[in-house]
């Protein structure tokens, strides 16, 4: 694999940050990333990996449904292809956000509490221990969700105050925080470039 077709769900949110981050991570592995901005249907099926950005989960979920992108993302995961979903992306990817204002895609067997960390004044950055990483990850939490129920077969990669904030369920990695806002590519490596993800992609 010399070129990676990386689809960034681009209906709303920090799309360019995700595009830059996956390009950086791919380059470090000697891979060219071809970015596909997904604002309408028909583009997801050709993507090797998908990124679901942060933003506003109510807005993102209703636009995914309207544009018919939701079913294509489900098919991408059913085919075992990798996804990295951050913050609002995690909420949309979850099994249940316990809020009828958000339609979730059930890609990750977890339930989430939207904005569990509080309002913007409570947003923060802090070093976070992530399993598989040998030093803490600089995590940025912005009006972040918490993961509360975790299904069987879901691996918890990181916790904050006893609650999961990074998980892996098969080909899908979800984080409450925003790895795309810092130049540290290790979460992208976990999602797309370690053995598990490569196997899932093969």
């Amino acid at each position: 694999m010399t070129t990676l077709r990386a689809g960034v769900v681009a209906v709303q949110g920090d799309v360019s940050e995700h595009a830059d981050a996956v390009e950086r991570a791919a380059a470090a592995h000697g891979v060219d990333a071809e970015i596909v901005e997904i604002r309408s249907d028909g583009l997801v099926p050709d993507c090797d990996v998908l990124l679901m950005p942060g933003g506003e989960s109510t807005t993102i979920s209703r636009l995914l449904e309207r544009e018919g992108i939701d079913d294509e993302i489900r098919a991408h995961v059913e085919a075992g292809k990798p996804v990295l979903a951050t913050c609002a992306g995690l909420i949309v990817a979850s099994r249940d956000a316990k809020d009828d204002r958000v339609t979730t895609l059930d890609l990750l067997d977890v339930t989430v509490d939207r904005n569990a960390f509080g309002r913007q004044v409570d947003s923060f950055e802090a070093p976070l221990d992530v399993s598989g990483l040998d030093s803490p990850f600089p995590a940025v939490f912005i009006r972040a969700p918490l993961i509360d129920e975790v299904g069987e077969g879901v691996e918890v990669l990181a916790e904050w105050d006893g609650n999961p904030v990074a998980v892996r369920d098969g080909p899908v990695v979800g984080t409450s925080f925003h790895p795309e806002l810092t130049p540290d590519s290790r979460i992208h490596d976990l999602a797309f470039f370690d053995e598990l993800a490569v196997e899932a992609d093969a």
Partner: protein, 302 residues
């Protein structure tokens, strides 16, 4: 919070956290609301955030008099009514209104020329706050002065409450043109440009190297239809504020939803035609052309 967490390493209100909040709004529509009922309609229509103020700009224009921060009680009701971020407007230079808004949990503060300025010479020193700020600008030096004071997001001033997109286009074109000019200058020439334009030199160099504003850049001021919103995305804005355009329209729900969908489909005229059809009349509005300077809000707080 947690026992095991090292609180000394947890940092709130950093530039990364403030600018990061603004980055999450990109590609979205932020709608002006005056009460909880309107806020719910905006959320249902797909707004990424709502902006709480005591009256929409078109009504402020008609009414005249002093325009201030919204009643904190009303802002709290809006915060309780919706799950999306709530922003609030404070007067230019009015530290105390901004502190009150921060204290009641507003997610972002708009130091806004739409309200009557509280200070003729100084803006709020926004670096002192944990909350991020958005400010209006008509050109690049103005934008960079606001960023230098700590603004985490810039919006065009446009001419609020008119329903005429003309000034938002002018301001966005001016900012983009000035950035393109800067990228062609060498270090010495940028220094001179900074002095001549009363712009902070460090930010002038940063902008020139990035080829864009160092913070998120939204459109605001006169956006009234799905086509207006799409036009501002064509002009490379990161997202849209709509003031009087939603609740001044015949059918706010449909207009709100159509503007949200138009931002996602800004480069697809066939879909835009479909989105803009049968959604009821837009706000009546008042053209900028021929408006007396003293009636314009954009000259406040430069």
């Amino acid at each position: 919070m947690p026992e095991e967490t090292d609180l000394e390493e947890l940092r709130r209100g950093t530039e990364l956290v403030k600018r990061g909040f603004a980055q999450m709004q990109k590609g979205g529509v932020i709608m002006d609301v005056v009460d909880a009922e309107q806020a719910k309609i905006a959320e249902e229509a797909g707004a990424v955030a709502v902006m709480a103020l005591e009256a929409v700009p078109a009504d402020i224009r008609k009414r005249g008099g002093v325009s201030r921060m919204a009643d904190p009680e009303t802002v709290k009701e809006i915060i309780d009514a919706v799950s999306i971020p709530v922003m609030g407007k404070a007067r230019i230079g009015h530290y105390t209104e901004a502190q009150i808004l921060e204290s009641i949990g507003v997610d972002m503060i708009d130091e806004s020329e739409v309200l009557t300025p509280a200070d003729n010479d100084y803006h709020i020193d926004k670096r002192e706050f944990t909350s991020p700020f958005v400010c209006g600008a008509r050109n690049l030096p103005e934008a960079l002065r606001r960023i230098n004071e700590g603004a985490a997001m810039i919006r065009t001033k446009g001419e609020a409450g008119t329903g005429d997109v003309n000034q938002a286009v002018t301001h966005q074109r001016t900012i983009k043109h000035q950035i393109r000019t800067l990228t062609g200058l060498n270090f010495d020439e940028r220094e001179k440009w900074a002095r001549e334009h009363e712009a902070p030199a460090e930010l002038v160099h940063e902008t020139a190297e990035m080829g864009r504003l160092p913070v998120v850049n939204f459109a605001a001021g006169g956006i009234a239809t799905p086509a207006d919103a799409a036009l501002m995305m064509y002009h490379e804005c990161d997202g849209i504020f709509v003031g009087s355009g939603i609740f001044g329209a015949e059918d706010p729900e449909q207009m709100g939803e159509a503007i949200v969908e138009a931002v996602n489909n800004w480069d697809d005229p066939d879909t835009l035609a479909d989105i803009a059809s049968g959604i009821g009349k837009g706000m009546k509005g008042e053209a900028n052309v021929g408006m007396a300077d003293e009636d314009k809000l954009q000259g406040r707080g430069v």
